[in-house]
Amino acid sequence: MLILTRKPGESVYLGDNVKITVVEIKGHQIRLGIDAPRDLRIYREEIYEQIREENRQAADTGTTSQGLDRLSSTWKGKSGGTSKVGKLSTSVPVEAGDGAKSSEEHKPTGDRAEKSDVVARRKKRSE
């Protein structure tokens, strides 16, 4: 790890596009200002770790989908219109683990025509 010492008002450049400035020191807290391109994602470490852990737990979902079936049968969502996720789905029937029914048995509302448009469209690849 590179260690630098800065006083309030002093800065550090990371490459050409990112500048970190020590704005103020108040007691044990340091306020940092960061100038960076808008699409550079900047996160407090504890938030980043929190998401990493939640992703990990979400990935641990086993094949048991009975819990999902129960939620599904009484789900009251707010989506009135076309599900965007539906536009991404492949029209492939799936049966998950124990007892989940294949997706052919429930038709997504109104999505079929749009889905085949998406499937037929050529995907642009930038390699």
């Binding site: 407090r44 737990q57 939620l71 799936v94 683990g97 037929a120």
Partner: protein, 181 residues
Amino acid sequence: MSEEHSEDPTIVVKSSRFGDLTVPADSVIELPTGLIGFSRTQRFIMLEHKPPFSWLQSIDEPELAFVIVDGGEFGEEYVVEPPFGDKDIDLQEDDDFAVLVIITVRPDPKETTANLKAPVFVNLRNKKGVQIIFDHPALSTRFPLWAQDSQEGQEPSADSLQVGVDASSASENDSSSTEQD
């Protein structure tokens, strides 16, 4: 559909949950930076389960799959700013996009939760996606899908989303915060 199917290129995706699946090659969703904590798994397909649930199945790792709900299921209160101009997905202002919310399934259905804090945006034009974290106290990593105080008994719904309520994040109790000026 079967006639077109034989002419369009397909790929086989091996899934530990669903077996071997033959899918159109252009249904692949690419996350150039993967998911947070899963940066090396970048290629996925989406498989519909029972509504509102779908599976985001990794092509690179047969055992890796995430349960997904469309962000629209959480209504107008769920407001997240799309990453326009993001280089990973090249999202332009007039591009249509999907907001994928990752669900953490727990053995008790009443404890199944949605990560509203870190959805995945997918550009529908090029099928590229990126997971973005919103460091905002109103957005929980563990939004319960099972409404807690429904008067008709306990039913799953998106109704319990309240802006300003976040039970899961401990960090907002300390004085560290993120500000934008």
